[in-house]
C-alpha cells in the first residue's frame, strides 16, 4: 500500500507533466514541439487512469498490474513520436524527416514483433512477461535512437540549447528506464531498486523540459563540441 511519500511523488509527477504543456503554451513553442507535448498530455491522462484503477482495484490487483504495464508501453510509443518530432526538428534543413519517420515506425513494429517472438518460446506468465520484455526492448531501442540523434547533433554542429537539452534529458530518461527494466528482467527480487527508479526518472524528464522551455528561447545557442563527454 503506497504511503504519503508515494502519493506525493505521484501527484508531483503528474503536476510537473502538466506544467511542461503549460510552459510550452506560455513560451510559444507548443506547435514546434507538439509531439513532446502530446507525450506529456498522455502521461497526465495515464497518471489519472492509474490512480482510478488503483483506487478501485488496489495496488496488488492484476487489473492494476496490467493497466500499469500496458499504459507504460503506450507511453513509450508516445515517446517514440516525441523522438520522431525531435528528429524532424534536427533534420528539417536536410529534408530527410519523412524517410526517418518511416524508418522509426518500422523499427517500432520490428521491436514489438521481436519481443513477441522471444517470449513466445516460453509459455509461462506469457502476457506479463511479454509486457516487461517489450518495455525493456522499446526503452532500449529508444535509447539507441536517442544516442544516434545525439551523435547527429554533434556531427551537424547543432547549437540550439533548447534542442540539445531536450535530447540529452531524453537520453538520460531512456537509459535509466532501459537499465531499470533490464534489472527487473534479470533480478526480479531487487524490487527496492526497480520500483524506485522509474518515478525518479519520471520526475527528472518534465523538470528538464520545463527548464529548457522556460530558460532558453529557440535562438539561444552554445558550442556543441563543449558538451561531448569525450573531448573532440
Amino acid at each position: 500500500m503506497p504511503g504519503p511519500f508515494e502519493y506525493t511523488i505521484w501527484l508531483v509527477g503528474a503536476l510537473l507533466e502538466a506544467s511542461v504543456v503549460v510552459c510550452s503554451l506560455l513560451r510559444g513553442p507548443f506547435r514546434r514541439y507538439f509531439t513532446l507535448n502530446l507525450y506529456m498530455s498522455t502521461s497526465v491522462l495515464v497518471s489519472a487512469g492509474r490512480y482510478l484503477v488503483f483506487t478501485r482495484h488496489g495496488l496488488a490487483s492484476s487489473e492494476y498490474t496490467y493497466f500499469y504495464y500496458y499504459s507504460d508501453a503506450i507511453l513509450t510509443i508516445c515517446l517514440y513520436f516525441a523522438l520522431m518530432g525531435l528528429y524532424a526538428i534536427v533534420f528539417e534543413e536536410l529534408g530527410a524527416a519523412m524517410r526517418l519517420r518511416v524508418f522509426m515506425m518500422l523499427l517500432l513494429i520490428g521491436t514489438t514483433l521481436f519481443s513477441y517472438a522471444v517470449v513466445h518460446q516460453s509459455e509461462s506468465r506469457m502476457v506479463t512477461h511479454y509486457i516487461v520484455e517489450i518495455s525493456q526492448n522499446l526503452y532500449f531501442v529508444g535509447l539507441i535512437l536517442t544516442y544516434v540523434l545525439w551523435g547527429a547533433l554533434l556531427k551537424l554542429r547543432e547549437s540550439r540549447v533548447r534542442v540539445i537539452q531536450i535530447v540529452l534529458s531524453l537520453g538520460v530518461y531512456f537509459s535509466i528506464n532501459a537499465a531499470n527494466y533490464a534489472l527487473h528482467n534479470a533480478y526480479p527480487s531487487l524490487r527496492f531498486v526497480w520500483a524506485f527508479l522509474p518515478p525518479a526518472a519520471g520526475m527528472f524528464l518534465p523538470i528538464a523540459w520545463i527548464y529548457a522551455f522556460m530558460k532558453f528561447d529557440d535562438e539561444a545557442r552554445l558550442a556543441p563540441a563543449r558538451l561531448a563527454a569525450v573531448p573532440r
Binding site: 525493456q136 532500449f140 535509447l143 536517442t146 544516442y147 545525439w150 540549447v161 540539445i164 537539452q165 540529452l168 534529458s169 537520453g171 538520460v172 531512456f174 537509459s175 535509466i176 532501459a178 537499465a179 527494466y181 533490464a182 534489472l183 528482467n185 534479470a186 523538470i207 528538464a208 527548464y211 522556460m214 530558460k215 532558453f216 539561444a220 552554445l222 558550442a223 563543449r226 558538451l227 561531448a228 563527454a229 573531448p231
Partner: protein
C-alpha cells in the same frame, strides 16, 4: 541479453548525464562575475574544484531562486560523481584526473554565477520593496 542491455544503458546514462550537466554549465561559462561576488568568494575568472563547497555554503545563505534550484542540484550531483571518479579511476588514469579536476572547477564557476544571480535578484527585490 538483459545484462548486456543493462551495461550499455548504464554507460549511455553516464555519457548523457555528463553531457547534460556540461550543457547546464556551458550556459554560465561565458558570464563574468560581478566585482562584489569576486571579492566575497575570491574567484576572479577561473575557479578551482575546491571552491565548490565554499561557494555552495554562500549559496545556501542566500534566499532561494526557483529558476536555478534544479540546475544547482544537477550540478551538485555531477560534482559528486566527478569527485568519486577522480578519487577512484582517476588514480589509475592521470589524464582522467586532470579532466575531472577541470570539470570540477567549471562546476565551482557555475555555482559562483548562480550566487551572483541570486544576489542580484535579491538586491532587485529589496530595491522594489524600498521603492514601494
Amino acid at each position: 541479453m538483459a545484462a548486456l542491455i543493462f551495461i550499455f544503458s548504464f554507460a549511455a546514462l553516464m555519457q548523457f548525464f555528463v553531457s547534460y550537466s556540461r550543457s547546464l554549465i556551458a550556459a554560465s561559462a561565458r558570464r563574468a562575475l560581478s566585482a562584489d561576488v569576486q571579492d566575497v568568494i575570491g574567484i576572479k575568472r577561473s575557479a578551482s574544484g575546491d571552491d565548490f563547497e565554499r561557494v555552495m555554503q554562500f549559496l545556501h545563505l542566500c534566499p532561494d531562486r526557483r529558476e536555478d534550484r534544479n540546475g544547482i542540484k544537477a550540478i551538485g550531483a555531477y560534482f559528486r560523481l566527478l569527485g568519486a571518479v577522480g578519487a577512484t579511476i582517476g588514480k589509475l588514469l592521470p589524464s582522467l584526473r586532470v579532466w575531472t579536476e577541470s570539470e570540477r572547477s567549471q562546476c565551482a564557476y557555475f555555482a559562483a554565477v548562480a550566487l551572483d544571480r541570486r544576489i542580484a535578484h535579491n538586491r532587485d527585490m529589496f530595491a522594489e520593496q524600498m521603492s514601494a
